[in-house]
């Protein structure tokens, strides 16, 4: 009975979403504030319904209700309870429900803050969010109902994919969805601006905190995914240019361009058109990501099911959203163009370069991700695009981006001079160049030149950021007090840019300094790697809650001193009959020691993978810094002050 209530709540949510779209539309047409205002309670009620429906599904997992097909396929009575909760979003149907719930959550957040907005804008924003919600609820109800029953119920479930039985995977999807779906808010703001014909600087100010928040969640979600792949797939890689990774990375890149372009529109009133386009693009790529991941056109851990109807449905949503918004843009865009002027050397120019480079990077990744799919769909052969393409092209594009970043955060709005910029930053530039030259000689291996360039750029970004902080604070009566009194927007920018530098440095150092070996080892053998001695001490049996494992004990010593005890496992999950590699990792700020078991060979010997991973944590710590920067910037006071709309009186109501 309870699951039927869940289904009923989903249908009710759909009805409320229709109200959330229809009422403000009528209100806009009749210029009636009362109709417009109906969007707010409808959106809130929709959230309540979906939250309850989600709770019903979690409950079904917790009580092992295997009469639900979805529960039976993705859970098992022996599955530990935290994984039973996370199994709720561990596969297609449930993750769609989570998608819808998070969308409703974002809409709720908008309705809680929309008193600062003019009534018509608030109404349109809520209505657009409602449209997206309708599309996804229909998708869920027609093709992927998580509450579908099958009676009689099977005695036990088929278990959650062992790859997903991991703490990192409990929070990775919700974070990623918060980001994906969060870009629906700037998207809705963009549509509202186009429909109302009013694209004022105030518009950018409302949209900024939302875009920043979505971006920070996406940053964390991607970093979590990368970290999970590193320790869970058992072969020490942290990024594979897998289409599914690209699907999340593309909206992140455009989202990064968006938060910077919004800053220009907010502060200077320029780039309006471009900002709107980026907002549409970032959300469209989020939808594309959903399509790629959910339709089954991709082969990966994330492609839960192949149901052609599902793919077609998401593609339809994507087509309508992208086509519709771009048509609207073409039609209304010119009316909201215009803006302040700026000189070739100015912060605007650097930020424009940033936007263009990020957009081109997105396009190159899109090409490498979509082209094989298109060829395959047209029956023109099966191809794949190798990581070297992405590494080369993306690396080349990041080079000018990092260069421009250093200058750009220094340049003044509207007009600046190269002479002044050079005067400010010559020491930072010199130091970065020096580090680069030294690194070429210190590092070795085939990637040392690229690594040296990357390191120099990372130092350049970090130093130029710090020089900026120094300039604001040094020479003041109390530098520390000045530092603490800086606006949060500035603090966030500094943290995010330092985080970017840290990630770039981590990528370069990991690539240049890491070493790994594949060895055949039996208990008693030892291998030297990166100055550490890895000794295979013993091999034991291990019994987990729902798996059996062979567990090896490795003692890692350096100069005779024990550094770490690693216990890599080769697990066998009984229900699915699936083997799984669980790496043994000793994590550190400057290096990880990593051992994973390959396969048993004759005797008690195993094939073993040994890694010395230099500075790999920097990659994710940098991402955490970026996200923290986003959080601090999003809470800047200037967004909380009621945004007055200077042009509101002049603007004509053309909708």
């Amino acid at each position: 009975m309870i699951p039927e209530i869940g289904l009923f709540l989903c249908v009710l949510a759909l009805a409320l979403a229709v109200v959330q779209v229809a009422f403000p539309t009528i209100g806009l047409w009749r210029r009636d504030a009362a109709w417009l205002a109906m969007a707010r309670p409808a959106a809130r009620a929709q959230f309540a319904c979906l939250l309850a429906a989600f709770a019903v599904l979690v409950h079904a997992f917790l009580v092992n209700d295997f009469s639900l097909v979805y529960v039976a396929q993705n859970s098992n009575s022996a599955l530990p309870w935290p994984y039973r909760v996370s199994a709720t979003w561990g596969a297609h149907e449930g993750s769609l429900l989570l998608w819808a719930l998070i969308l409703a959550g974002w809409t709720l957040a908008v309705t809680l803050r929309d008193r600062e907005l003019p009534g018509d804008i608030a109404g349109i924003v809520t209505a657009v969010m409602g449209l997206v919600s309708i599309a996804f609820l229909l998708f869920m109800l027609f093709t992927s109902n998580p509450f579908a029953r099958e009676l009689p119920a099977p005695p036990d479930g088929a278990d959650l994919n062992p790859l997903l039985q991991d703490p990192g995977l409990i929070i990775h999807p919700p974070m990623l969805y918060m980001g994906y779906v969060g870009f629906a808010v700037p998207f809705a703001f963009a549509i509202a601006a186009l429909v109302s014909g009013r694209l004022t600087p105030g518009w950018a100010r409302w949209a900024r905190p939302w875009a920043l928040t979505a971006w920070l969640f996406l940053t964390l979600g991607i970093a979590l995914g990368s970290w999970w792949a590193y320790y869970e797939l058992g072969w020490g890689g942290w990024w594979f240019w897998d289409p599914v990774e690209n699907a999340s990375f593309m909206p992140w890149l455009l989202g990064t361009a968006l938060i910077h372009s919004l800053a220009v529109t907010d502060k200077r009133g320029t780039f309006k058109s471009w900002t709107v386009l980026l907002a549409i693009g970032a959300f469209s790529l989020s939808l594309l990501g959903t399509f790629l991941v959910r339709s089954g056109v991709l082969t990966s851990v994330h492609a839960f099911a192949t149901d052609p109807a599902r793919g077609v449905f998401v593609l339809g949503i994507l087509g309508v959203a992208v086509g519709g918004s771009l048509t609207l843009y073409a039609w209304r865009g010119p009316k909201v163009l215009a803006g302040g002027s700026y000189e070739p050397v100015s912060r605007e120019t650097f930020l424009l370069a940033n936007s263009l480079l990020l957009a081109v990077s997105t396009a190159t990744i899109l090409l490498g991700t979509i082209y094989p799919l298109v060829l395959d769909a047209l029956g023109l052969g099966k191809i794949s695009v190798g990581p070297p393409y992405f590494n080369l092209v993306f690396g080349l594009l990041m080079l000018p981006l990092a260069l421009a970043l250093g200058w750009g955060q220094f340049a003044r709005w509207r007009e600046d001079s190269l002479r002044r910029l050079w005067g400010q930053l010559r020491y930072a530039a010199g130091a970065a160049l020096l580090l680069g030259v030294c690194a070429v000689f210190v590092l070795d291996g085939p990637t040392r030149i690229t690594a040296a360039i990357g390191l120099a750029l990372a130092l350049w970004v970090a130093l130029s950021t710090l020089v900026g902080v120094w300039q604001r604070c040094a020479g003041r009566a109390s530098p520390l007090a000045t530092l603490l009194a800086q606006p949060r927007g500035f603090v966030g920018q500094v943290l995010a840019h330092l985080g970017f530098a840290m990630t770039v440095a981590g990528v370069c150092l990991t690539g240049a300094l890491s070493v790994d070996r594949h060895e055949r080892m039996a208990p008693g053998d030892s291998v030297e790697l990166g100055g550490y001695e890895f000794r295979f001490e013993s091999l034991n049996e291990f019994t987990g809650p729902n798996f059996q494992a062979d567990e090896a004990l490795f003692l890692v010593t350096r100069n005779g001193r024990t550094v770490a005890e690693l216990r890599p496992q080769k697990r066998f999950y009984k229900v699915r009959g699936m083997p799984m590699t669980e790496a043994g990792i000793d994590a550190g700020f400057t290096r990880d020691l990593y051992v994973s078991l390959g396969e048993p060979l004759e005797g008690r010997a195993w094939s073993v993978r040994l890694h010395y991973k230099a500075y790999i944590r920097w990659i994710w710590l940098g991402a955490v810094l970026m996200a923290a920067g986003g959080l601090i910037a999003a809470t800047d006071r200037r967004y909380r002050i009621k945004a007055t709309e200077p042009a509101a009186g002049v603007a004509t109501q053309e909708a």
Partner: protein
């Protein structure tokens, strides 16, 4: 410089820059494309000798041979019509098993043996890489691939 000239210069530089970038990108793209071939294609000589490609099929039961004291391994791939021998040095993925579908990236040697740089296996009991399913001539369910390191 007049504003007009300045604008023309900016646009000109942008166009040249974009053109260069596009040329570089497409060149890199072209060099890193990997095509998929079935064992029949390879035996028929359709696969390129000079560049990397992907091959997929079923691992022939009883064909997996390990070198003693090393991680070198050799096995035979089939699409039920033809067979190709694959050689690989390293650790095979968790779900590599005889009789099941896999995909390998690498190069064809002059001796007709495929030297794999990477071996990908499906990651669920019921899965079969779609390329393999198609090469075998029947549609299979979706595949989940995980890969081992080099």
């Amino acid at each position: 410089m007049t504003p007009r000239r300045k604008r023309m210069l900016t646009i000109g530089l942008l166009v040249v820059g974009m053109g260069l970038a596009t040329a570089l990108i497409l060149n890199a793209f072209n060099q890193n494309l990997m095509y998929f071939y079935s064992p029949s294609d390879v035996v028929a000589g359709k696969a390129p000798a000079a560049r990397d490609f992907r091959i997929g099929g079923l691992v022939v039961v009883g064909s997996v041979k390990r070198a003693p004291d090393q991680l070198d391994v050799e096995f035979t791939l089939t699409d039920m019509k033809q067979q190709v021998t694959v050689r690989y040095a390293g650790i095979l993925p968790d779900l590599f098993r005889e009789g099941q579908g896999i995909v390998a990236n690498g190069k064809l040697g002059p001796d007709g043996v495929f030297a794999a740089r990477e071996v990908l296996a499906k990651h669920d009991e019921n899965y079969m890489p779609p390329e393999v399913a198609e090469a075998l001539g029947h549609p299979g369910p979706d595949a989940t691939l995980t890969r081992p390191a080099q």
